[in-house]
Symmetry: C2
Subunit: 302 residues, 2 copies
Amino acid sequence: MDLRALETFQAVVATGGIGRAAAKLHRAQSSVTSRIHQLELSLGVQLFHREGQRLHLTASGEALVDYAGRMLELAEQTRAAVRDNEAVGQLRLGAMESVAASRLPYPLAEFHRQHPQIVVNLQTASSRGLVADVQAGTLDAAIVGESVDTTRFRSVPLYVEELVLVAARGSALLREPKQLAEGTVLVYHSEGCAYRRRLGQWLEAQHIVPARMLEFASYHGIFAAAAAGVGASLVPRSVLEVFPQRDALSVRDIPPRVARLQTALVTLRTRHLPVLAKLEACLREDAAAVRGGTRRGKRTRG
Amino acid sequence: MDLRALETFQAVVATGGIGRAAAKLHRAQSSVTSRIHQLELSLGVQLFHREGQRLHLTASGEALVDYAGRMLELAEQTRAAVRDNEAVGQLRLGAMESVAASRLPYPLAEFHRQHPQIVVNLQTASSRGLVADVQAGTLDAAIVGESVDTTRFRSVPLYVEELVLVAARGSALLREPKQLAEGTVLVYHSEGCAYRRRLGQWLEAQHIVPARMLEFASYHGIFAAAAAGVGASLVPRSVLEVFPQRDALSVRDIPPRVARLQTALVTLRTRHLPVLAKLEACLREDAAAVRGGTRRGKRTRG
DNA sequence: ACATCATCATCGGAAAAATCGATCATGGAC
DNA sequence: GTCCATGATCGATTTTTCCGATGATGATGT
């Protein structure tokens, strides 16, 4: 049984003749005849009763009419369903460097696995810059640690980052927050960085003014400097976890109120891309898995 | 999209690999690869994400898994449905000569159209003989004008025959029933004939004893003799209607109580043939059409 | 009665598709 | 590094599908 044979059969029934069906299907009459015969053979049943020139449906044939219609309909639905699940084009996604480094690799891989046709354009910037880019339409979506105007933006909570103080293993800087005033604080170079702002607010509330500040363009730089004993920094624990030489660093928690920072996927309410919903699904699923500690397929290498 | 391609796809998903699917389907690995590629091409969609050697379903692929299952299931149902509607074998049907001549041609043609594989073995005999044959198992079913024992037989009412008196056009025999005593009465040769019995009862009730009786083996004989002025006979109007030279005959009604005779399809309760149900359906439908006067496809030739 | 038309079946060859076997490419395991 | 498992690719072969021509059959028109 073949879908094309069913179509042929349906055409013969609809037009009431093999010749007319052949014309309708732009095929030779002999082809239609063969096809019907083959269908009858494969079903082991006579579909038409031939008396002279005219064809009449047999009981089996009448049964098949119904099922053929259903099968072809389902085939059409299948094509449509598969088509609808196929997203094409590109997706411009922005994220904070920290998120891009620690959180995104897995869900983005998953997304690409599910939608190989989508070209994901990932840019990193500060939270404020990202929100501005989404607003400007330069980005389709961004993952930020900012709270945004919910009238213009749609904001889907994703990960809760926990900020921790890090410094070289054994460094005196972590013993008490006040010690930070004596040393160098390593910060991300952009003013729009949500973590840097959080750090600034915390220090200010405690009337701590660091002796020196060093700006870095990447977390690798910050970690390298911290590990070398240059100073201390406030970083998300998730980023620290993907830092290869994290054994060279000491970590110190800070009060949860200051430490916890919600990140969210932010999109313009006016922009509705079907692809975006798929990406959002991947991210939410991953965030949920991270919260539950059961990220499937996660490979922990020795 | 092809059902075999869907099976292949399903096998690949089930076994988790093209090679294993090929083994399962007893096909070469390259064939499966081609088939999947062709399926992807025909759907215009990437079903698997190839990273290195392993295959992962894309979102489109996952959608197809569901639909492929449904399609193959429906295909199986189709095969089953068509098979179930296919009846094979032979059917031994008995009928009174009158019914066989006047009523059966159309519904039997319809039945044969619907079930070309069934060999219908039609025998004519008297009502009593037919019932005996059904009882003996020589016949699968019979159409008779008898009332039968409903504990052993199943009886489905079909046609109501109307018996009429016929004789040569202008014959005096039809003027009054009593005239029959003066002439020759033409009867069917079997004692078991329901019509003949009805005639006998009627004449007896009126204390009419025909001068002569002639037995015939067929209605053609009776009609020919009647038309030739040999005598009168009591025949079903339906048979008269299919007699070509009916213009040579005069017809006279008799009281409905005597004239009307119900025929029925009789089968043994212990015998259940699926084919028989189909035949019964054809006969009932035809009988209903005759009652309603709307027998479809009936061709009245000029 | 005869020719004509419409219809479907059959046949042989051509075109297309599916399959196979062998080989290559790639990434992981030892 | 070498093996091993896995798919992709290629050319040859087999199978399937299609076409065009021809034949058979019954209805229609003259």
